[in-house]
């Protein structure tokens, strides 16, 4: 029997923007499905709001995989159904429709919306009833670049509002920008968790190329103990190096060997690289 999620233990504090990262099939959606009551776990338990809420899911806005609405109803009518379920008194959807930029199309049927508009309506629905927490599972899946940009802007606005957010996503750049904490899972197992700062190692990345002198440059990089990993893409080498690695000294050493780099870029390690390193080891 395959275990979709195994021995996963997470604590998310109020106000955190928590990213759940993992490759496809790693158990992200299954985990979110269990904590939102649509999947029945074989074992284990979870607690929302320290068990203080009778109907905790009414205090949480969730998108799980796809936006789910009645296709023959318009935005207002669909939001009214969500409001009714959540038991919220506030029937004024102007503010949230404005936030997701759907006010102009509020009277159009859901079936007539583009995928990006559907996703933005789903985000609007999560904001009904002043939720204490928000769960977004792959909110940009299947969207075109404009749709991704729109949803990304909306997510940033939501994250800035101070609500607790759980975000399962492949948008590692955005997770890095938005999230305060992350958990990395693979095959249902937790590989790493903590604040984004603690997950990102102190290592740096350098990107270097030397035109036709590719072979001697590669030999030098491989022989240098300060360089922890090397990936090459055409003429370019991406290397992970120690925090105190000195580019000037590297240039000097290379010039002594008559290797003259045509391109050198130094930057902090990105979450994407960290993610790939952590998941490839597991």
């Amino acid at each position: 029997m395959i275990k979709a999620v195994n021995n996963l233990s997470l604590t998310i504090e109020a106000g955190q923007i928590y990213g759940i990262l993992g490759p496809n099939g790693s158990g992200k959606t299954t985990t979110l499905g269990m904590i939102t009551g649509v999947l029945k776990p074989d074992s284990g338990s979870f607690l929302w709001f320290e068990g203080k809420e009778t109907h905790p899911l009414k205090k949480i806005g969730t998108i799980l995989e796809t936006p789910n609405f009645f296709p023959y109803l318009n935005a207002d009518e669909n939001l009214e159904i969500v409001r009714h379920i959540k038991g919220s008194e506030n029937k004024d959807f102007d503010r949230i429709l404005e936030l997701v930029n759907l006010k102009e199309r509020r009277r159009s049927k859901f079936a007539s919306y583009s995928l990006g508009m559907k996703q933005r309506l789903a985000i609007a629905a999560t904001l009904i009833g002043e939720p204490q927490a928000l769960i977004y599972d792959e909110p940009t899946n299947g969207l075109d670049p404009q749709g991704i940009a729109d949803v990304r802007d909306t997510l940033k606005s939501v994250a800035d509002s101070g609500k607790t957010v759980i975000l399962a996503s492949h948008m590692l750049d955005e997770v890095e920008k938005i999230c305060t904490h992350v958990a990395i899972i693979k095959n249902g197992n937790l590989l790493a968790t903590g604040s984004v700062g603690s997950i990102l190692s102190a290592d740096k990345s350098i990107e270097i190329a030397a035109g036709e002198d590719k072979a001697p440059l590669e030999n030098w990089l491989k022989s240098n103990p300060s360089i922890k990993s090397i990936n090459h893409d055409g003429f370019f080498f991406q290397c992970t190096v120690d925090e105190d690695f000195n580019i000037a000294e590297m240039s000097k050493a290379l010039s002594q060997l008559n290797i003259y780099p045509t391109h050198i870029v130094e930057r902090k390690q990105k979450l994407e690289e960290e993610f790939l390193q952590i998941t490839s080891k597991a």
């Binding site: 029945k40 899911l57 009214e80």
Partner: protein
Amino acid sequence: MFNLLSLEYKKFRKNSVVSLLSLFYVLFLPAGMILIKDFKPESLGPGSMFIPGPETYYSFPAVWQYVGYAGNWMVFFFLGVVVIYLICAEVNYKTQRQTMINGMPRATYFLSKFLAIAAISFFATIYYAIVCAGIGMYFTDDWDFAFIFENEWAIPRYFLMSFAYLSFAGLLAILLKKAGLAIFIYMTYAIIVEPLLKVGLKFKDWAIGDYANYMPLNAIEDLMPNPFFLIDVPMADKMDIVLSYSHASITTIIATGLFIAWGWFVFMKRDL
């Protein structure tokens, strides 16, 4: 309770399938009676002296039986499909799953669907009563209110029949999730499988054959049976074609309880 019914109304008030099928019920229930307006029993040949003519169908108290039998088919076909649609469409749109994600407990969702079934049965019954009363008052020469309601509890029987058919449809929708498949099984079981089983058991001369009429869909149908089976001729008793109203009612109540319990058990346990 009204909160849940109001939610169901908001979900489906603009749905064309539900509106169209409900309209068919409203139109065809009295239309069925109009179609037999010119029926002449003598056209059936020998034995037709037992069969009453249209002047009987339209008068009290027989109008309750005849419209009831027309309603038996209309509820089964049109409103049964409405119920399957109310449940399966939400699986298809994934709004069932989203409703739970939005915080409605599973038990409440299940309750909302069976409250909707009860409400549809209630309004179908009210309409049946209005149609019967209207036709009966128009065609009966001498009537009073006491006479109108001399109908062997036809109104509660019609409600029970409707609720039972629709609960069966609801069970199949919950079990099968796909509207097309659920409608196919619903129709096939009620129109082909159970009648064949009933005839087979009766002719096999097994002891169980005596109980063949107690099969669930047959018992539901016998709450508003074909009025020609009720004609007072010795043959009808001999053939034991229909259950008595009391036996049909008790069997239907037990069967409906089992439909709901089965649906509840499956719905509460499975992943959405």
